[in-house]
Symmetry: C2
Subunit: 301 residues, 2 copies
């Protein structure tokens, strides 16, 4: 049995785990990040966590999946949203002290590698993934390999023009980007709007103490009509984007990951009426561990 | 020197040509199609034309690029717009009588193969093409090979949702498809609208006898302000789609083909203000012969 460390760097925390040959996460750790966290301290914490894991398992490699813009060939995190990385040679900073090979890729590529090796598209050579969170990311599997484009930045499925009439400029340079309408952030905004419009609904009552992106699913499953309406409209919008990507890639499968995708069959049921016959959609089969598992497998595919 | 026959099947005519080892079209023929043309007669005409070409050159293979939906693996034209093909085993119908290998692919794939082997993206392994005509087609080159998707239908760059607010249903099943706003048909509609709004403009005067998709370029180059306005707005829209596909593929180059692309540097100048820095765009380098040359090269890459 061999053991690999996977590291999943997100905006709120760094998750680490030991992944075995059966692609199971058999031990895990977590480092909180957030405002004010410093780059070199965070790296020292990551080295320390890897060492702790390495004391208990004969680790053969470390793989890192990071949010933001990553140069996987050089092992650099170019920038990463809220995190304090700026052209940081992260792979080298870990491989030196650990004496292990360290691989780095972006989080969406890792999520797709995880699903391809151990999850929802194991049977596929051509697949795409939409990672739905604060924004929408994406990755592309072609012939069983990740396609990265000539600069490593391919797969930005959240950043095609979805509303040509919008004048709101995205940080990517375009207007009317798809993620503005179909991210978890967009679903939350839709939920808030409905709560305002229907203050007596179960959805409004249940979220009186605070609303998050998942609240609408709970209310819908308890029969709240307003919550179902929000989700049907969200599913219609998400399906328009999925169908668009299917026309471009004709993948065997389109995988959805991120918090919303954990709704599984319920989400697929909402999407079904709006999908084209050729749009074969599955939700993550790795319960939020896809990015970590995929990161651990970097260097093996 | 070896010689191959390329056949480019479009809605209005079938173009045939002999392509030599230097990717030049050294002899050509044309068969008119259009309303009322019959399938078996058209095939007999194609066989006849190939025989005539074969009498003058030692032809080693025949390649066909067809509009519409093509099953390149089986050599079938599934359907092809105005043309009388319905699940037609076209490759076999030509290879039998001619005694030559016959390859078949869709017209956009052929156009990209032509540009990759002999045209605007010879130096690239990862490239995409937008074929701009009545609609918008597309094709994808990854690692020097055409990516077709699992069902052979990938690359429909005209059919992603570009206007989420549109309710007009496209034959593809989506609403607000990109080609509705950026095809040559769309440019013609924009031109007509401007002529109506500015009946005294040079554009209106020059097109009094009839307007086609290219008229607006002529008027613009002769200084007509209204024509320039139409083209600037068209370029803005086309660039939004190009930028979107660049975010998805990050290709080395995006090639434009079709009638509008023959405007070359003038078109690129119009696009430039609206392109993202990473969007490297070139127009066809094969003067309308890309599809024919690419068809002739089928089976060689």
């Amino acid at each position: 049995m061999s053991y690999r460390i996977g590291i999943d760097i997100g905006g709120m925390s760094v998750k680490l785990g030991i992944v075995d040959d059966d692609f199971r996460v058999i031990e895990r750790m977590r480092i909180a990040t957030g405002m004010g966290c410093r780059c070199q301290e965070l790296i020292a914490d990551m080295v320390d966590a890897c060492r702790q894991l390495g004391e208990r398992y004969p680790v053969s490699s470390v793989g890192i999946g990071s949010a933001g813009l990553v140069d996987s060939q050089r092992g650099y995190v170019v920038r990463a949203g809220n995190l304090p990385f700026q052209n940081e040679p992260l792979a080298e900073k870990l491989s030196g002290p650990l004496g292990l090979p360290v691989y780095l890729d972006n989080d969406a590529n890792c999520a797709l590698i995880g699903e391809h090796m151990a999850g929802a598209c194991q049977d596929c050579q051509d697949a795409i993934i939409l990672t739905i969170g604060t924004g929408i990311g994406g990755a592309i599997l072609i012939g069983g390999r990740i396609y990265r484009g000539h600069n490593g930045r391919a797969g930005e499925f959240g950043h095609f023009v979805f509303d040509r009439q919008s004048t709101r400029r995205c940080s990517c340079g375009l207007t009317g980007c798809f993620e503005e309408y179909a991210s978890a952030t967009a679903l939350l905004a839709m939920t808030r709007k409905k709560i305002e419009a229907a203050p007596d609904s179960l959805l409004a009552v249940e979220t009186a103490a605070g609303v998050d992106g998942m609240a609408v699913f709970g209310a819908a499953q308890r029969g709240c009509r307003e919550a179902v309406e929000v989700l049907q409209e969200y599913a219609r919008i998400l399906a328009m984007g999925i169908n668009s990507m299917v026309h471009i890639f004709q993948p065997e499968v389109t995988v959805l990951s991120g918090g919303i995708s954990l709704q599984g069959d319920y989400l697929l049921g909402l999407l079904a009426p709006y999908l084209l016959p050729e749009s074969v959609v599955r939700t993550t089969a790795l319960e939020g561990n896809g990015g970590l598992i995929g990161a651990a497998l970097l260097g093996t595919i």
